[in-house]
Amino acid sequence: MISQQKKYMIEISQKEIEELRNSVKATSRKVMAENIARMKKTSKNRPKAMEYFDEVADLFGKREKEIQAAKESGKKVIGYMCLFAPTEMILAADAIPVRVNSGWYDTSKLGDRVVPVEVCPVIRSTIGAKMIGLSPYLELSDALISVLTCDGMTKLGEILSDYKPVWAMPIPRVKDLPQSLRFWREGLLTVKGQIEALTGNKITRKKLKSAIEKTQKATKAFRRLQELRKGNPVIMGRDAMLVNQTYMWDDITRWTEKTEALCDELEEKVRRKEWSCSLDAPRVMVTGTPMIWPDNWKLPTLVEEGTPQGVLVADELCSSERLLYDPVGVDEWTMDDMLNAIGERYLMASTCPCFTSKDGNADRINWMLNKIKEWNVQGVIYYVVRGCMSYAMEYTRIKKVLDGINIPVYYLDTEYTREDVGQMKTRVEAFLEMLTARIDI
């Protein structure tokens, strides 16, 4: 019944799908090439190791073929929408984890046919991408893990279940209640069973341990990269964001190796004092709605190509720094403790605004304060796309805190569209101008 009649999706003819896909794909290819070309142009002394990430960043390139080949050899692909999905378990079951959120502007218009325009464009864009079968990773995934974080994500899973099995993982909205962790753990166990059933591989203690060690190594490389951004800018923020983001679909072991190589090169650059931009460039942090490659790259581009030029040294985005910053801390290598460790790593350490507690989402504020101090951030851009309620509503509190420590914060709201780049440029540059003036004083 379900397979025949779609609950949400509208019927489009195969011909229209083909046409749309080809045109969006062509635009997307152009955008990716252009973004990379601009990143190359802006960054002085761009590390050579970035070439690998430029290549992997091509969504319709090498990695798609690799996953395709792996699938043909019998591997399963499991997609996830929020970073709460337990990657370690997917790896332990010998499947490939990919994050499937979409950053395409054009498909968000298509999503409008299914959900109203008020809905967060990340959701609309993902729906649109599915509609025309654009995203290679979404198409290739055999099942999706949908973590019920914000309202958009909750319904997105439901809508996508028109096409694929979707495993919903309900998440407790208050992290530090005694029952929350138990609830979340039960959810993890359910998903573990589902993964095992799909892949036919049992998640054993040994396999899970090696998967955890794999992601721990990735976290190590990841943190090393973020640590390097603490000092003078040796890598542009956009480059670092691209590296962080390719983790979402790349092979994790290879990604770790390449990131370590990148860090080696960057350390060499620090020794030789080869900086990637002027040392006077204001150090900016972005927080808010996830920014997803390839299209939604306009804010980082505007900051780093603006006059005066700014540099992104840190962010609080679940598509970048929050992705892998927290490690799975295992005390004893028993199945039980590993499950607890995985559960805590995803639930407790997260600063997602979908959470609240008796202090509100104080974790997020602490994360930001720490970043601001340690990374020597001079200004914060609070980036929100229209329809992203949780982030938008937390702004007032964040602003109050940041005002208290005299760090300017700028609320930048936008949409999944290229039309507002001009006016955004004016706004971003005014903010950077102001930051520069503050530094001069």
């Binding site: 943190r223 927290d326 290598w333 028993t334 350490a349």
Partner: protein, 326 residues
Amino acid sequence: MVIEILGEALKLMVLAGLTIAGILVILIWKKGLATRVTYLRFVIQAAALATFFYIFTYPIWLLIMLIVILAMSIVFGRFFCGWLCPFGLYMDLITVARKALKIRHRDLPDRLNKFLHNLRYVLLLVFLLLPAVLLLMDPLPSVQLGIVLAEVLGGPFKPMNILLGPIIPLIVPWAGPLVIGDVNFSYPYVQDIIGYTNGIYATIFPLIFVVLTVVGSFAIRRVWCRFCPTGASLAVVNRFKGFKWAPALHLEKDEEKCTKCGICKRVCSVQVTDVYEQKGGKIDTSMCMLCLRCVEMCPYEGCLKLKIGGKTIFKSRNWLKPSDSD
């Protein structure tokens, strides 16, 4: 004659062991392996065991030991429990065995844990007040009561012994009754009971306690430490408002660096929740034994610190850094 020679040989061996342990500690510290606190702790615990063993082979005035340990607790808090107590080592080794067998541990419910924690002070008070009560009751109403008291409470006439309780049977292996080979298996506090009873009790009581401890600490990490009156006596300065400054050795937490990931709570062998729950600043709960497992495991650099006075001597690091090196 043979036994005396053996005894002397044993003492020499202990001395040699002590020296080796000392050298090991220095080596580990120097090589920067101090980041591996758990291993370092085992070495120090072993060294402490050897030291106590050595000291107690000579007749010693217990009061001196008592004063030293109490004075130490003013500065170091419950450092003794985490790092020196031989009984703690005993339980830690059982934990190591359990880990090797890949068997999960159980946790006590937080409320029960807190209750046991408070019960320690009651136990301590009872033991300390008992001599006075007995003095007032002198002579005892009945001989029966005297025997029951002696059986249940152990050495009421040597109250100070209580403070050293957990160590004595382990460090003076030949002093108690349950001797198999040359090793005494009797349990803390039980040794004194044995002194007042004899016959079948002398074997059954220690046996029961030994089994309980082994099974208990196999299932629950550091089970005894949760209600140990010795621990309570060491931590008693932490309890009083005016004395919160006293334990110079303490943990400190940086609120901003904490993401509340919960690792510190999970790895704690006595289930201290304060490190996780407290907003930041000095952690002065008397449940903490300063074993530093949380500091070792905390993945956020500088979030948890061990301070003595105002000086940081050990802090949490990006623990992913050294994970490859061994």
